[in-house]
């Protein structure tokens, strides 16, 4: 049993900061993907013909019932097998993004369904098309309504982005593992990593609160 020595971290701080930067980048990209695809899935579930709706529903059911880690394995190894050779980091972004798209879609669907029918009728009678009605009238109101739960999904996404280290993508946990392999001090490194995630989390919570406030103000 060796004593703890947090000063070893000093030398590796730039390294950890670089890892944190990649964690933030992966999370932001996956976050946007999860939101965009979430809207698409939600709209497909509510309005698309059965040939589209059924596969979307099946996909969502499958992705909700299985662990993200398993989905990351499937995407990382599966994409290559079907001939799509993209850098590993994209399989991480796609895996995270699709996983949370499913959860966002579940929330957004309920949000869209709860928008008063009169909104659609009013918009259609003003001459908006079906898609325009969705794009400019229904979905924006649904998004405003569902911001808090979608925000919690984003916070979960940020933390779960640590899983992409398992498929070898360089981010915060991976950076720590590299540092550990030359210092043999896992305790100090993982404490530091936990602290950085905690700070990133606080930062994201602050941003989400700001967004909610702005959206609230435009009501």
């Amino acid at each position: 049993m060796q004593g703890l020595d947090f000063t070893v971290l000093v030398e590796y701080l730039p390294f950890l900061a670089w890892g944190a930067w990649w964690t933030a980048l992966i999370s932001v990209l996956a976050g946007f993907l999860s939101f965009g695809m979430g809207v698409v899935f939600a709209v497909a579930l509510l309005y698309a013909p059965a040939v589209i709706r059924a596969p979307v529903a099946g996909f969502m059911w499958l992705f909700m019932g299985t662990p993200l880690l398993l989905q990351l394995f499937l995407i990382y190894f599966g994409l290559v097998q079907i001939g799509i050779d993209i850098p590993a980091i994209w399989s991480g972004v796609i895996g995270l993004g699709l996983h949370y798209a499913v959860y966002n879609a579940d929330i957004l669907r309920a949000g869209i369904a709860s928008i008063d029918k009169g909104q659609t009728e009013g918009s259609r009678s003003l001459g908006f098309g079906r898609l325009q009605t969705l794009r400019y009238v229904v979905v924006p109101q649904a998004v405003r309504l569902t911001l808090p739960p979608i925000g919690s999904n984003m916070i979960a996404l940020l933390k779960e982005s640590s899983l992409v280290s398992v498929i070898g993508i360089a981010e915060l946990v991976n950076a720590a593992q590299l540092g550990i392999s030359s210092t043999f001090r896992p305790f100090e490194f993982y404490i530091a990593v936990a602290a950085i995630y905690y700070l990133l989390n606080l930062l994201l919570e602050g941003v989400l609160a700001l967004i909610e406030k702005r959206v609230e103000a435009t009501k």
Binding site: P186, Y190, N201
Partner: protein, 215 residues
């Protein structure tokens, strides 16, 4: 689809599914016990206990479960905690899910109408008796669903123990994907088993919810 491969690997996955179930169950029990203690701390009159409970929940919810597992398993030996992967796995998962379960429990207790408490105190019940005989029986019903959601998340999250080399479903899946290069077949088998476990637990939760519903 390579059916012969699926038939060949299925027994190994069945065994791994057993590991996933056992590790999730142990983590569930530890999580419930810790969560109950945390909830009691957060509702206590002592400011220090309230703070400690809130700090635990904030830290464990604010950092990734994977990092917590790594800290316990890889970092533990540095402070004299030597655990096998399996033991570190269920203890780490249990400590993590306890924070989420404590939120569910607290939410349910606070959701019980305030009038209930006031009425109990008015007819002479003490704080403890009010909690035990009036608030908790009502809150317990409200807790079933959110705790069920936590438990399903726990089962899926138990896949993280594969990263500290517990031979569970996810570990077995990863091993067979990289040895057979058949990601879709292997995913299908692992997904089926995870789904069966999750569906079984969801049905238990629904049964319990219906059994204890007030109306």
């Amino acid at each position: 689809m390579d059916i012969a491969l699926i038939q060949r690997i299925f027994p190994y996955f069945l065994e791994a599914a057993g590991v996933t179930v056992v590790i999730s169950f142990l983590a569930f029990v530890l999580g419930m016990v810790l969560a109950a203690a945390l909830t009691a701390m957060r509702l206590s009159r002592s400011r220090a206990l309230r703070f400690a409970g809130a700090a635990y929940v904030s830290v464990f919810r604010g950092t990734p479960c994977l990092v917590q597992l790594f800290l316990l398993y890889f970092g533990g030996p540095q402070i004299g905690i030597n655990l096998s992967p399996f033991t570190a796995g269920w203890i780490g998962l249990g400590m993590n899910i306890a924070a989420y379960m404590a939120e569910s429990m607290r939410g349910a207790i606070l959701a019980v109408d305030h009038g209930q408490r006031e009425a109990a105190r008015t007819i002479g019940f003490g704080r403890a008796r009010t909690m035990w005989l009036v608030i908790l029986p009502q809150a317990a019903r409200l807790m079933i669903r959110p705790l069920g959601v936590n438990t399903v998340a726990l089962i899926k999250g138990s896949s993280l123990v594969s990263a500290i080399s517990v031979i569970d479903l996810a570990y077995t899946a990863q091993r067979y994907i990289s040895s057979t290069y058949k990601p879709f077949e292997v995913f299908a088998v692992a997904a089926l088993l995870y789904m069966l476990i999750v569906i079984a637990v969801s049905m238990l939760v629904r049964l319990a919810d219906r059994r204890f519903a007030i109306d």
